[in-house]
């Protein structure tokens, strides 16, 4: 995809995410909106996947370690062609298969079930280790939140990825600086992230998590780096794209009311319309 097409796809995914959460009257928008640019670039221009054959053995894998950000992952998968966009309407519904947190057996394209924070990155290490063992060429990606990094298991996983020189593993941290209870710097400071990952023997790349060109370049750099796993520290804005949600921890896991929904939809739709005429 061109950068313009990527921008349009990410904008559409944000609107789909908003509609899902509004229809379900629950869900996690803040961290989904912040991570959607990184996810869109990853699925559209980086990962080798085949939506017609989601279990293809040599496919690249993705693990949503911040497993609550399904309003980012599911629209991304739908727009990549894994399932119809219509399916998103039953997000979190007993009538559907679009579970609240990511589930590998229910949603096409999901490579690992996640939801309990800190666990996804370990599974990603296991997938990457299997790839090395089988001398398979696939790469493994995982997305974490900066609040999630307070989980000790993340650092256990980081140690083990470095021990086994998993250069087929790339973690992306959606550094939006906020979590449910407030600022990450207040709740439990996880910075300095670059020094921490470097000390754990990871290759570190800094990127503006809303700069699509820079994100694609970061993924390319990560793939080229040998001997170490790579972490991309993507600085982002929580709630990106909806003015009243931006940089507001209150929108971590709350559904908008009708009035808020209409305003958010208008903002995201206007952005899509603007991109469409460009």
């Amino acid at each position: 995809m061109t950068q313009h097409e990527l921008a349009l796809t990410a904008a559409k995914a944000r609107l789909l995410g908003l509609e899902m959460v509004y229809a379900a009257a629950s869900g996690h928008l803040g961290g989904s909106l912040s991570s959607l640019d990184a996810l869109t670039v990853l699925y559209q221009n980086v990962m080798r996947v085949d939506p017609a054959n989601p279990q293809k053995p040599d496919r690249d894998r993705f693990v949503l370690s911040k497993g609550h950000c399904t309003p980012a992952l599911y629209p991304t998968l739908a727009l990549r062609g894994f399932f119809p966009v219509e399916d998103l309407k039953l997000f979190r519904s007993i009538q559907g298969h679009m579970s609240g947190h990511a589930e590998m057996h229910h949603v096409k394209g999901v490579d690992m079930s996640t939801g309990s924070l800190g666990q996804g990155i370990s599974a990603a290490v296991g997938l990457a280790l299997a790839g090395k063992l089988d001398k398979a060429g696939y790469r493994v990606y995982t997305l974490l939140g900066d609040g999630e990094l307070a989980e000790g298991q993340v650092w256990e996983a980081a140690m083990s990825a470095a021990k086994y020189h998993l250069d087929n593993l790339c973690a992306v941290v959606d550094v939006n600086g906020l979590q449910i209870d407030g600022k990450t710097s207040d709740v439990m400071p996880t910075e300095p992230l670059d020094k921490k990952f470097e000390a754990f023997n990871w290759h570190v790349i800094h990127v503006d998590g809303h700069d699509l060109t820079a994100l694609e370049e970061a993924y390319t750099q990560a793939a080229a780096h040998k001997g170490q796993p790579t972490v991309i520290l993507a600085r982002t804005v929580k709630g990106k794209g909806v003015s009243f949600m931006e940089n507001n921890a209150g929108w971590h896991g709350k559904a908008p009311n009708a009035e808020q929904y209409e305003q958010a939809r208008a903002e995201l739709s206007a952005h899509i319309a603007k991109l469409e005429v460009e």
Partner: protein
Amino acid sequence: MEHIATRAAYGEALAALANEYPNLVVLDADLSGSTMSKKFADVCPDRFFNMGIAEANMAGVAAGLAAAGKTAFIHSFAMFAAGRAWEQVRNSIAYPRLNVKVIGSHGGLSVGEDGATHQCIEDYAIMRAIPGMLVLSPCDGPEMRLAVKALLEYDGPAYMRLGRLAVDSITDEVEGYTFQLGKGSQLRGGTDATVIATGMMVQEAVKASDALQAEGLRVRVIDMHTIKPLDEALVLQCARETGAIVTSEEANVLGGLGSAVCECVAASCPVPVVRHGVEDVFGRSGAAKAVLDAYHLNAEGIAQAVRRAISLKK
């Protein structure tokens, strides 16, 4: 008679089957010499991963390996494999039904000298509480070897306890003995009561049954190596035919084999059930045999429970 710890038989069996199962990967958390997973590492270093003292990550990495098609066996002491990593086992392994076997060595009070922090008496209960989880506790070396093979053939999550102490091998001397996941085995016949035991309490149950013959009691002994799924048909048959049951386990009497048997008979064939095990207290340091005796986890403790169960028969 062979005298071998189930962990030793386990390690040998896993190593012996390494080539037959090329998809098998083995992980340990810095206890490979104790859990005996080192036996596998010695013959198959490429498929052995020492994950360090980080059980939570070990469980998650195993889930990832299984999601890529591997059969993963993970190892630590029961306290840490089942206890420390419980939520990882629940959410990353059992919920997605991934092919990971959680192996908890040094279960129960027979850890001995290390004391209560390392004496896991809750593993049966907490692993049994997870939907779809198999829970195994083979009693001796021969049974353990068969259990390892059966687990390799079984596609799905399972927990298995290994014991630290060398124990007498008894199942290989029982005529007609076969091993099948989810099916208990009768080691002694009898009609006055049944002892349903698991792990190293099976040997004690056999001793108790033999001793009680002197009192004129004929006590059936069932080796219930699979705690979940429970062999309900066999439990109910014993309830009907003997009218009283004693369960025996080297674990807390809450939530494990005793609870499973009570749940079964209460629903379908109520008979007295006396649960023999650790009476909801922590263990303590001491030589293994001394600790077991202090908590009445021996043949005499089982015999007393049998007398009580029979006295409760209508």
